[in-house]
């Protein structure tokens, strides 16, 4: 329980003259459910992009299980076990639900091009098992009935769930959830949080989630880092965060702006 799985060492992201994230340092331990919170524009998504290789940090390094991720392409990082969802839902809109998830399982496919062309037994059986595995995953979120519907036709909440299913299909060590509850009402959010806790234990996962809304995170996260203007201002258990003056100030300041 105590081994460090993911570590960001002093990562900085600079866009032109603007430092979106400044020397951020944090760790996520194996099996933990960690949170990254902060007001709008604090740089949370930028952190995710650096962790998953979409951006290369201007300075600093990310480590997974002690291995440096610098210079790796996003797909390579995904193969190593980091997966994610997107804040502004990036499903494969033109494809159906099943295909969306199957694509994420591509890295575990056992057959080659020749098997495909000759339609070998191996091709057929592994396609079969792939599909049943994916259906099982969809089942967790009650999406299996919609397997053949276009992803774009799902209601918003289900699209978010589908993103999680898709991410799970990569067989990750750690899943990064970018505002998974955005746009959901209270009961939906509650239900989602329960599911997240459930999949964590079922798949032996580590979870790092971004939430804009502080209260939601408090309930389930074991460790929380707070970001403001690209700088980590606080880190610790929910109780620590709740009582931090800096955090309150950061959030209040934002409300003024809004």
């Amino acid at each position: 329980m105590s081994a460090v799985l993911l570590e960001a060492r002093n990562i900085t992201m600079q866009f032109g003259g603007l430092k979106a994230v400044d020397s951020l340092q944090f760790q996520v331990k194996k099996g933990q459910l960690a949170g990254l919170i902060g007001p709008n524009g604090a740089g949370k998504t930028t952190v995710f992009n650096m962790l998953t290789g979409v951006y290369q940090p201007t300075h600093g390094e990310v480590f997974l299980d002690g291995q440096s991720l610098s210079g790796l392409r996003p797909y390579e990082i995904s193969h190593l076990g980091i997966t994610r969802t997107f804040q502004n839902i990036r499903l494969f809109k033109g494809l159906n639900v099943l295909e969306n998830v199957l694509i994420a399982a591509h890295q575990h496919v056992q057959y080659g091009l020749l098997d495909t062309l000759l339609q070998t037994k191996r091709f057929k059986s592994s396609e079969q098992s792939l599909r049943s595995k994916v259906i099982d995953l969809l089942h967790i979120f009650n999406l299996e009935k919609k397997a053949l519907e276009p992803a774009s036709s799902l209601p918003y909440g289900e699209q978010r769930k589908l993103e999680i299913v898709r991410a799970l299909a990569t067989d990750p060590k750690i899943i990064l959830l970018d505002e998974p509850a955005a746009g959901m009402n209270h009961s939906e959010t509650h239900q989602l949080m329960e599911t997240i806790a459930k999949i964590r234990s079922q798949f032996n996962l580590t979870v790092l989630l971004i939430e804009h809304d502080m209260k939601l995170v408090m309930g389930i996260c074991e460790n929380i880092a707070v970001l403001d203007h690209g700088v980590k201002i606080e880190e610790g258990a929910p109780s620590v965060i709740q009582n931090s003056a800096k955090v309150i100030e950061a959030y209040l300041g934002v409300e003024d702006e809004a």
Binding site: F15, T45, N49, V54, F86, R90
Partner: protein
Amino acid sequence: MHDFVQHIINGISLGSIYALIALGYTMVYGILKMINFAHSDVYMIGAFAAYYVARWLGIEAQPGIASLLMLILVSMLACGFLGFLIERFAYRPLRKAPKLNILITAIGVSLFLQYSGQVVFGADPKVFPEVMTDYVLLTFGPVELRSFDLTVLGVSLVAMLCLEFLIKKTKVGRAMRAVSSNALVASMLGVNTDKIIAFTFVVGSSLAGVGSVLVGMKYPKIDPLMGMMIGLKAFVAAVLGGIGNIGGAVLGALIMGLSEEMVVAYLSSTYRDAFAFGILIVILIFKPAGLLGKYSVEKV
């Protein structure tokens, strides 16, 4: 040495021809993010409009600056009007369609103009009237600088500055930039996007009109397919400089003109076009948005 200087002059002169046409491509691309493949054929129509009007008015008998300006005006009007029609009837219905569809429509319009041009004007080349006489401005030994070369360069630079001013400093320009960055938001803010886009097309196309008269004056042979080759080169020049960037178009065009000239002079005339595209490919691979273009990081 004097050959080298002559090559530089030739190259700049050729480059400024490309620049005049490249400006039209880049202008439309900058606002609409579409390759207006028909631009080079609008240019062709401009040349023919000027040709017929000049013959009708008997302008050849009285060459001079007034006749030139008059023809440029005619050609600009014809091209602008044609640009308006093309936008209204071919591109506007496709505003929300996938990019490939718009590209194919543009190619369709281009083919339509080329082939109906062959039917209407005839396929044989026409001789563009001599509106002004070319003369030597300066000589250094065998090196010559001619008035047409300077005129074309001057006009393309002035056109560039006018466009820069139009886009950066005027109210219409602000609206154009708004449409370019986000058409939906722009329309919510009260910008009449249809009008702005039509205006962009009219301006871009009338630039082709200016180009066609100047080119017709310098190279007095026009035919319905005259836009094909020069259009492709100008377009490549616009991409080279960073399509959507006004200054980039002129820079790209001058680089194209000079490099074509130098390839012919010092490497191999037969591989000239291959080199032109080779340069483009190398630049795009190392600088994917062209020389002056800004590479936008996709927001995730």
